[in-house]
Symmetry: C2
């Protein structure tokens, strides 16, 4: 019999595609600055600005937009025009209103898992943006709880488990980021299931903890019911 | 004997000053655009941009910064320079890193109230920004829970009460915004205590529900213990 009671899911690039929105905006950004710099240099400097701003701005599209604008000012030595700045703001608004593109077979798989387990979402980023995406995704019905956190550190997972009065052995986390969804969860002694996404932000990379006892990897979201059935036999 | 078990506090302009940060940034914004437009017109257009962006951007400093930048592009017909845009981004960063200025006698008053009641914070705005302010304020010790919500609608208060398994008659909310802290709470049948702040964002204005049975108003934060003692006698 399974010891798992609650399965939590990361949202961006686990339930729905997200990183592709950032890549599209980044490409637009590179095109905008193409007459000033090489594509590689632009990407490198944007990344540096994002990392420098992260402690104050936090994660999410608005932070990304402010970092794009700041990088554009820096890289053009102030020659960026107002119209070009507006293009960047418009890119952010398009990202915020973009249709939610679900990862393949997510609703059917959640429906199956919901028959046996309590399901929740634990996602980081912007409060408003994540709430709107959950609403628009049509997936809200499957989740008994939604936690939007500013960062996915061990302490935040620990607080969620406490709030739900749940021992780590009854908790599993599913996500595409080794850094945010997997490593802190394994540290707590809970189960972590990694589903790689074709696109993952470099900031989220980490080495896969292949030797860890509670670490599992599946290729696709709809491999989850079979994996959980196997875990029940253990 | 009091029926109140849990007292929740708004944060911005209830526990610490906040609106003055926005006014300082707005003044800087008006100065920057002074050669293009009158101060009144700039303020009016900035407000319009903020209201238009609110459904997607939500509340908080990053949203405000993006709206300032967009308004600057509009009002200068694109002639705003990169350096001027950077001034606006820097203004946002200063707001995010500003020292937390507590409202007078907040820590002593919270310490007294904490002897009798469970205390919590319910604040809206940016997740990361509000977390950092609670951390920097030194007030975290007084609160058993902190809820950061994207908007202070009746449904959000209702969810908080449910999560804490609390009937409305056991709950009181203290805040400076009639629109966000008082009206939705009274609608639920809970107690609401209004403490006017010298500066309150126009968006938060509403008529005081002076005839409502569970509505109270005090002039200063440290009037609260006397008010709660009176409520106990009722």
């Amino acid at each position: 019999m399974s010891h798992l009671h609650l399965i939590a899911f990361d949202a961006d690039d686990t339930l729905w595609h997200n990183e592709r929105l950032y890549l599209t905006a980044q490409n637009r950004f590179k095109t905008l600055l193409a007459r000033y710099h090489s594509s590689e240099w632009i990407a490198e400097r944007l990344d540096q600005t994002e990392m420098r701003n992260l402690p104050h701005f936090g994660y999410g599209i608005k932070s990304f937009a402010l970092s794009m604008i700041e990088t554009a000012v820096e890289l053009t030595e102030g020659r960026i025009t107002g119209q070009e700045i507006q293009i960047l703001i418009d890119a952010a608004k398009e990202m915020l209103t973009a249709e939610v593109q679900l990862v393949e077979r997510v609703p059917e798989t959640l429906a199956r898992l919901a028959e046996k387990y309590a399901l929740m979402v634990i996602t980081k980023g912007d409060l408003r943006d994540q709430e709107l995406k959950i609403e628009r995704s049509g997936l809200a019905q499957f989740f008994s709880h939604v936690e939007i956190v500013s960062d996915k550190k061990r302490a935040n997972y620990s607080r969620v488990l406490q709030q739900h009065n749940l021992a780590p052995e009854h908790f599993a986390m599913v996500g595409n980021s080794l850094r945010s969804d997997i490593l802190p969860v394994l540290e707590l002694g809970a189960t972590a299931i990694y589903i790689p996404h074709e696109l993952t932000w470099a900031h989220e990379h980490a080495d896969a903890p292949t030797a860890a006892p509670n670490f599992y990897e599946v290729a696709k979201f709809d491999d989850l019911p079979v994996l959980f059935a196997q875990l029940e036999q253990k």
